[in-house]
Amino acid sequence: MVSSLENILTEQDLWISIAQMLLVTGPLFGFIFGAICFYRKKAAFFNQLVVSALGCMMLGRIYELVFWLTAGNLPEGFDLSVLGDVGCFLFLLSASFGQMDGLVDGREKKDVKYRLIPLAAPALILAAGVFLYLHKNDISVIFSDLIIFAVTMVSSYYNLKHLIFPDVDFGILKSIRGYNALTLGGTLSFVLLCVGEEIGNLTLFGIGALLTGLWAFAVIPVLKGGSRKWTL
């Protein structure tokens, strides 16, 4: 996926190298920290799914690193690091949709607007996908991005929904609004990274990588702070 990873050792702007380093170290830190905090018997399953998401992204980055070290380059288009990223957003989706959504959304008619407004997030990602398709005009090249975009569209919908949805009993939702805002930002920055990479715009790619790396660093501490209130 992030084929420009191989540029770490070549000449380029320092800040892009730092962004790429963050993209590799962020999920690693997030996964290890999250595993220590949440891979326990009594920890919330929601938190464990978020940690697994970071673990999946970490595996994707390790795969890229290993492939680059062993083959000397990264394959064009689809490779298994894409599955690492897809798995990451599937875990985030499992947490938001599978674990949380049933608790917060009682399917009442009065909440219809809270179900419609969040469509803005997937619409934004869809627009990015259409832009990419028009720019590249080759479905085989952007195939892997389209898989990621499809999953991120659904995942970002639930993040935005839980960000604006009225709170339910015990403040379950209110306490993780920070997590949802951060994850929505992380998802959009990852989409930015994909677009930047495919159109060969290093600045876009660098900003996307920097923000995604920072998201991976920050998400577990923010989630930990929020979910602590569940037990109070």
């Binding site: 697994s52 999946c56 595996l59 083959a71 599955l83 798995g87 599937l90 599978g98 674990q99």
Partner: protein, 237 residues
Amino acid sequence: MDSLMWNLFICIALPMALSLFLMKGRARVVVASLVVGMFMCMFAGAVNGLIRKAIGASRIFEITTIYTPMTEEIAKAIPVFLFAVTISDEKERIVPMAMAVGIGFAIIENAYILISEMGSWGPLSALARVFGASLMHGVCTSVVGLGMSLIYKRRKLFVTGTLALLTVAMTYHGIFNALVQSSYSHIGLHLPIFTFVPILILVEVQYRKQAREKAAAENENRAKEAAENEKKVQVEG
């Protein structure tokens, strides 16, 4: 798929299948899962052969690090999924079954690789290869099985969760395959040991702790019951 693989399958799987009639309970499930794993290896081998034909045998590194992890993990997950749907989704039953499917898969794969590359494997490197690959296949499938046991009852999680777990197994498998075929093969062969042995030890410790706590709670209950019975006897007396 060449005849060597079929011959290996017949030589190993058939006697094991025959021995199923002598077994009962958990042993029968485990051995049957080993045989199923071997069969799924044949299936994955056939699919991989088609992929090799389509892409070109010269791109073998790309095939084995991108496509075969996907086909193999899907092939191993199919029997685990069917077991969860038709027989049991309990963690205690599904995890050993999934592990056995993975190990069965590794038996045929290892035998095929070691025999077809007869001269290039010494006893120690063969031992490392067999141990590393068996552990990798076994635990990757167990992870999928463990996940299925956790998410099967939560319908909303099932599709996304199962796919997510498959991506974990595939990516890890891809890392292993890439390392094993490179000059870092020693790291690749030891990777499953360094990754999974600590986890297995932790899980075992946790199981034992739980078993101890359960036994202590049972003893306490028994002691309470005995004390109550004694009181009753005294009152009646």
